[in-house]
Amino acid sequence: MIPTPEQTLGPFFLPRFVDADANDLTQLEGRRARGEPIEIHGVVTEEGGAPLENLIVEIWQADAAGIFRHPLDPRHREADPDFLGWGRAATDREGRYLFRTIRPGAPAGRAPHINLMLMYSGLMRILKTALFFEDGPGNDADPVLRCVPPERRGLLVARREAPGRYRFDIRLRGEGETPFFDD
């Protein structure tokens, strides 16, 4: 069967759908996930640099050992029971988003990374991208990052601002435009 066509999220996705702790992956039902807690934050802008408010960002990532909590991962039985790997945030008035998560381990054949998805009014399809870490390792060999033209790869690398704190700005269109994937 052919998938149901996507349609834009529109401007009326309810604030109530962004639950208060949905952007905090470091704990699950009061129990702490294994690994190093980190913060990922940044600003989402449209063409011309205007910040976007109430844009929805969702992330999906492996746990500290590089395992995805999903039966298709051959190692999933060893996945951290207190780490869901998924979170949601909305941008504020200044276009800022924030996730508290665990530094992902390297999944088999990949560099440590976090998948991101953006949903918003004016986006007719979900935008998908991925974030890599300035302090790697293995970015140069990552099969997904290598698909991005070399001069744009740096746009997918989060900058280390302080120990455990990374900045990843997302520009939807225009100068310094973030690379997005089409699957």
Binding site: M1, I2, P3, T4, P5, E6, Q7, T8, L9, G10, P11, F12, F13, L14, R16, F17, D19, D21, A22, L28, E29, E46, E47, G48, A50, E58, W60, Q61, F68, R69, H70, L72, D73, L84, G85, W86, P107, G109, H113, N115, M117, M119, S121, G122, L123, M124, I126, L127, A130, P143, V144, C147, V148, R173, E177, P179, F180, F181, D182, D183
Partner: protein
């Protein structure tokens, strides 16, 4: 087990830049999207997002003195994958305007009235057969504040989690026979008429019971299909 992700035909996906929808021209990437090999990272995904998100029941229309204004309807949804297999446990979020065409949202400054008995949102988990049922009122149409003015037809928004990251879907459902469907710039951003038809719900023939609501059935197909059946 592996999961196959057949690329949807372009004509069955919306165009990304839409005439008369200015935000699409400021927010759609200009550079070509990058094709990538699919690894475990994209072909796995969150199976339990509901553990982070509070449920919101599927009874939106209310009853008695708390009955929302508008035509009460029952939406029967079924979530399946591309192989037709029900997505048991799929998390579905739904939101819509009230019967006057107004959302309970700070961004909606339309002059249409709010209904104190209608919030217009649900968050539910599909049963073992991929089914979800919502009792609500039929949403009203509303004008889009652009220079050349156009109206959204009555529609319901859905956000659906499949079993993998690539199956994540945000879509809208429309009602059959609505004259505004033919002019809607978002629905008609999908070029293939058969694909547009799959965004329109089916009215189930009414029963003889005057207390029954009108029922609309709708199928949502998320990406992915299993290449081999799951092992017991």
């Amino acid at each position: 087990m592996t999961v196959l992700f057949d690329r949807p035909p372009e004509a069955a996906r919306p165009v990304r830049e839409v005439a008369g929808y200015p935000q699409t021209w400021r927010r759609t990437p200009r550079a070509p999207l990058v094709r990538r090999p699919l690894t475990l990272s994209e072909t796995t995904g969150p199976l339990e997002p509901a553990r982070r998100l509070r449920p919101l029941g599927g009874e939106l229309a209310g009853a008695g003195e708390r009955r929302a204004i508008g035509q009460a309807i029952r939406l029967r949804l079924r979530i399946v994958d591309q192989g037709g297999v029900p997505v048991a446990g799929a998390l579905v979020e739904m939101w819509q305007a009230n019967a006057a065409g107004r959302y309970v949202h700070p961004n909606d400054d339309d002059h249409a009235p709010l209904d104190p008995n209608f919030y217009g949102a649900a968050r539910l988990v599909a049963d073992a057969d991929g089914r979800i049922e919502i009792r609500t009122v039929k949403p009203g149409a509303y004008p889009v504040p652009t220079r050349d003015g156009w109206w959204r037809p009555p529609h319901v928004h859905f956000s659906v989690f499949g079993r993998v990251w690539l199956a994540r879907l945000v879509t809208q459902m429309y009602f059959p026979g609505e004259p505004l469907n033919a002019q809607d710039r978002i629905l008609n951003a999908v070029a293939d008429p058969e694909a547009r038809e799959r965004l329109i719900a089916r009215l189930v023939p009414p029963t003889g019971d005057p207390y029954d609501e009108l029922v609309y059935e709708h199928r949502i197909v998320v990406r992915g299909r299993e290449a081999t059946p799951p092992q017991p």
